[in-house]
Subunit: 678 residues, 2 copies
């Protein structure tokens, strides 16, 4: 479809391609052609993939990787390397080709041949867990360019903390039209512009082609104008002119603002017939077109072969960073900040952390505060943040509601990155991608707040954190109908279930101040995935539980208060509903009916306990689940004969107490449910 | 916190407020003060709510509602009324005050007094189901302004179909800084600009205040520049100058582009001390400040009282639309398109629809195609679209993958809205809000396609459709690891569970071409909420089921093929995994083990069946569930003793067949699971 627009793009592109190819051959184009040839070969061998972008952006990437980017292929873990993010992750063969050509380990020709097959390092889209030089997993459009804000901010913050001699690197992004159309790019790039993250450069593959046809069928907004509106510097260049590319990158490196370089390229550059069409985007060129492209580019080597005279300069480029790396290692060796720097990069908690947590626990055990868990979270942050300098906080413009600010952090402002609190604005998704970037960069333990219901806006980024094992911490307050009169649009119902279903996400919903401290403690030790702290707006009493040294929440679930006499039922609840269970327990006890109350702050952690422990908690007696949310998935805890007390549709606008009563989530309803089982 | 910035805003605002109040009194300000007084009273009575925005935007809203907007308070259902969307939904008292003042039914003074209480029409945020003059539910920022694109597009399309004498109205939006910061505003406003929806006007409450403090702490991007980049016309005005407001609205009504009017206002206008601060945003002014504001505004009437000389001109404004409405009714009565128009607005399916569906079923029954369900969906669309002119399709730049385009629809392009297919670009969220707007406007049955995994991007809009009962249809293809080599970022795992947990969403995952036709038929009859059609990339055989006239999928689940001999287990599967169950059934039958196969295209619809039917389908024998997705929530069907065969983490990049084998979702694994139960 959209063939007429595609056809016009094609004719123009072929004419322009002819003009570009008629230009004198440069070393850059010769080197770039190696990227093109390998990308063609990878996609042809896999029989699927996306050749168009690697062919189009090869010149730009080659200039960047051979002349400007600071990296040493011998050590992908070098902390002061430049970060490269392929936001247009479908063009993964571009990245794999670059890694192979520059000489990274575990990116051999055989790895390229295994593109898109099970167990290869060369997945369809770049996967962070497959190779250390893949800075982040990309593929869902908009995520790479938006996570880059976090990478660039991490550099600024660490430079402010450790000084430029230890931290001084840049963040480079290759982004596509799709990245630009995604809303999250608006949020995160506005943040980057506001914070003047001038070491961030986006190389925008402005190829005028989308899957449905030429971009003019849907995308007529002016990207350059938009970014200038964000406080970026932006310019347009011919993406096939090495001199123009060099010039623009030098300009970007001098800029005091983040920079966008819109590179006018031809998608599928080199393809004799398909260049400039959506046909090259997501399908192999096919044998004839692939052969034709190589002929046109003057590439005569057999498939998956790079002639020595091309490979040598590529390998030299990959080793150019060795000297700066050695110099950096030397500076590091002689620095009195070395241990601190290493600990930060390894996310090791300082010794003072344990003391702070013990102190917090003791204080809560003593005062037994009747407060909202969002306030308890503030208490925890007041204890933790001063002793963990890696902690960077923020909120999507709900600071007074999320209780996320600790005074001693200071505020991060444009040009001064020593402050550790970020005002993200009403940009939940951009905040989430920034958290991911801060976490993936290393050296930072990021958390950010919003209302739990707006986790929906963050969801693509939370999923990517889960896939990438990024330890972003989300402080999600106002977690149920308990928020009251703001009504259905603000009351989470399905959100707990929706994240419990997502792999590698740790969902924690504490039921009082002590559990909140414990959940923060769990989060501080959880390094391999995102943590969601789900917190109440409303106050709740301290639970009548053991206040010893053990982190009971870390088991996922535990008996808060056992039954008096025989255990005739088990009330299983989370968060603010544990108090309801405790009240019901007392009412039942008054009638001589013994029931146990189990608090389950985390389904995931409870599932990891052994069968015996789980049965101890859940009990053999009839089970009643109480949660002011959708019951979807509660069968896992309640079994066939359980009863769920919770929400069965959306909420309503009214004071909190009226809502709990209206929806029947009360001690009285719990008592009735127990009696119905006896 | 951020008190210094707030303080500065406050001083400036108070000085400016003084200047504004010193201007000669106008009728507009007198009328606007009624909005202000009622808004103050509502929030004070509820003891919570958001007075700042109503006070700030009262002048703008008053000019719009008394001089320009086309509506008749006597008939909120008038099809050719202008649509008004309060994107900044937290300022709900502004809207309720306007509805009361202009004389709408069910918006009495008592309703205003009941603000934010259970069962009132005046919820914390405007809820569409509470009052017919509330065009859409708002509250989650970004949604209103972005849904407006759909409202404005619906008008253009209906005008193209029925002519300007029947359809000629405008869409007005009041939006806040938060709306502007949200990414979805970028997507949807770029669509509106691209499509030149010139009857859309956004009145932007440019008050420079966010919850965390002055907007300069986070939002320094140039909104006007950005919108001009989208192809909008934009200008800035003094939001407290009635003449300037009038002038700008006239300018907007002449524009050939969508228009943004940035209204510089003072949040909390009138509050003697708090004006210009975030303190007025989300909390009552308090008794003294409220009294002080009324004094400053010269408002002497008691709370919840509007003097006759103010109410009379307001009521006159509310009745101004009566004459144009009568004229429209007259034109409608004499139009030969009347029946067609009424049917479209009522979403009644034409007689030809049933024939088309019967024909489709007959064709599938005869040919038993072995195709992907996304291709079967294309077949269904080819049958339905030509006979249902209300159908408007589109895709977020995945048309060839989503199989959503039917040639006879034509394409919707800027300036010509007769085409019924929209290229949304890579803007899943903006597409979703546009679908919601098309649906909520009426007269259109919208559907839009993307990959199922990118439903994450659409989630806030899908939730709002569910709350608002908007019948947006989402065509979500590439629904599992079955999409193959694109890998984990593209493979949905938790998405089925996450939507099954969301209230009022109908999730349909058909298992062959016939079920796909049936699911489309269900969607076409489902008027009160969003429908998600979850479709495969990969082909699957026609199921060996009854091909009679009954829509078996409408029951949510049914026995595809019963057991030979005694039913020793039930295999329960959805979508592409039903075929796996059928294969396992045959393998078991060869060993003399009889099992039944149940297909469950919809958990929600099955849950609505009576207990007897459900037990017939699910059976008393051991149950094995098979779905290439998270098993979260499957306990509901499988019970304590069931076994789930599916995904237990994220996917991987490899050809489809390798993945199914790797993750153990195979007929062999199913056979083994059954044998383990015997």
């Amino acid at each position: 479809m959209a063939s007429s627009s595609d056809h016009a793009s094609n004719e123009l592109a072929l004419a322009r391609q002819k003009e570009v190819l008629a230009r004198p051959m440069t070393e850059t184009r010769m080197l770039a052609n190696a990227v093109r040839a390998l990308s063609i070969d990878g996609v042809e061998a896999a029989k699927n993939g996306h050749p168009g972008m690697p062919l189009g952006m090869a010149d730009v990437a080659t200039v960047l990787w051979t002349k400007f980017m600071k990296y040493d292929a011998a050590d992908p873990h070098w902390a002061d390397r430049d970060r490269f993010i392929l936001s247009a992750g479908h063009g993964s063969m571009l990245l794999y080709s670059l890694l192979h050509l520059t000489g990274y380990e575990n990116m051999s020709i055989n790895d390229l041949k295994a593109f898109r097959t099970l167990g290869s390092t060369t997945a369809g889209h770049p996967e962070r867990h497959e190779h250390p030089a893949i800075e982040m997993t990309t593929g869902p459009l908009g995520q790479g360019i938006s996570t880059a804000t976090g990478f660039a901010l991490a550099e600024k913050m660490l430079a402010a903390r450790f000084g430029k001699s230890l931290v001084d690197h840049r963040t480079w992004v290759i982004a596509s039209d799709g990245d630009m159309m995604e809303g999250v790019s608006h949020e995160a790039c506005a943040i980057a512009g506001h914070l003047a993250l001038n070491k961030l450069t986006v190389l925008y593959d402005d190829n005028s082609i989308s899957i449905d046809g030429g971009t003019e069928i849907a995308m007529t907004d002016d990207v350059v104008k938009r970014f200038i509106g964000y406080g970026w510097a932006a310019r347009r260049i011919d993406g096939h002119d090495p001199a123009a590319i060099e010039d623009a990158i030098k300009w970007a490196m001098r800029s005091r603002k983040p920079t966008l370089i819109a590179c006018k390229t031809i998608i599928g550059f080199g393809a004799p017939h398909k260049a400039g069409t959506s046909g090259t985007h997501g399908s192999p060129l096919g044998t004839d077109e692939a052969a034709g492209a190589k002929a046109l580019l003057g590439w005569t080597a057999p498939p998956f072969t790079v002639p020595e005279d091309i490979l040598t300069p590529w390998r030299a480029a990959g080793a150019k960073g060795a000297a700066p790396r050695r110099a950096w290692l030397k500076r590091m060796a002689s620095s009195n900040r070395r241990a601190e720097f290493d600990a930060a990069m390894a996310s090791e908690l300082p010794a003072a952390y344990a003391d702070a947590m013990d102190g917090l626990r003791a204080k809560i055990a003593e005062t037994k505060p009747n407060i909202a868990t969002r306030q308890a979270s503030q208490m925890a942050l007041e204890a933790i943040v001063p002793v963990v300098p890696e902690m960077v906080g923020g909120s999507a413009d709900l600071t007074p509601s999320n209780n996320t600010f600790v005074k001693s952090m200071g505020t991060c402002v444009p040009g001064d990155y020593a402050g550790r609190y970020v005002h993200y604005g009403v940009r939940e998704h951009g905040m989430a991608t920034t958290l991911n970037g801060l976490a993936l960069h290393g050296g930072i333990i990021p958390y950010g707040g919003t209302f739990f219901v707006f986790s929906d806006y963050c969801r693509p980024a939370i999923r990517l954190a889960a896939i990438s094992k990024a330890r972003s911490i989300f402080v999600l307050t106002h977690d149920s109908i308990g928020l009251g009169a703001d009504g259905p649009t603000h009351q989470p119902i399905e959100h707990l279930a929706s994240f419990r279903a997502m792999p590698n996400v740790l969902v924690l919903r504490p039921g009082d101040a002590m559990e909140t401290a414990e959940c923060w403690d769990i989060a501080m030790h959880h390094k391999d995935g995102p943590v969601l702290l789900v917190l109440s707006r409303q106050a709740m009493p301290a639970l009548p539980r053991d206040h010893g040294a053990e982190n009971l929440s870390a088991r996922g679930g535990y008996i808060v208060k056992g039954a008096t006499g025989a255990r005739r039922a088990t009330l299983i609840a989370t968060g603010s509903e544990v108090s309801i269970a405790i009240k019901a327990q007392a009412m039942l006890a008054a009638e001589g009916i013994g029931v146990a109350v189990a608090s389950v702050p985390s389904f995931e952690l409870l599932a990891r306990q052994d069968h015996g422990y789980r049965m101890e908690v859940l009990g053999e007696a009839p089970r009643i689940g109480i949660e002011a949310a959708s019951g979807f998935g509660w069968e896992r805890l309640l079994g066939d004969s359980g009863t769920f007390i919770g929400m069965h549709g959306f909420g309503a606008s009214a004071p909190e107490a009226d809502l709990y009563k209206h929806f029947g989530i009360t001690p009285e309803a719990t008592v009735a449910a127990v009696k119905a089982k006896l």
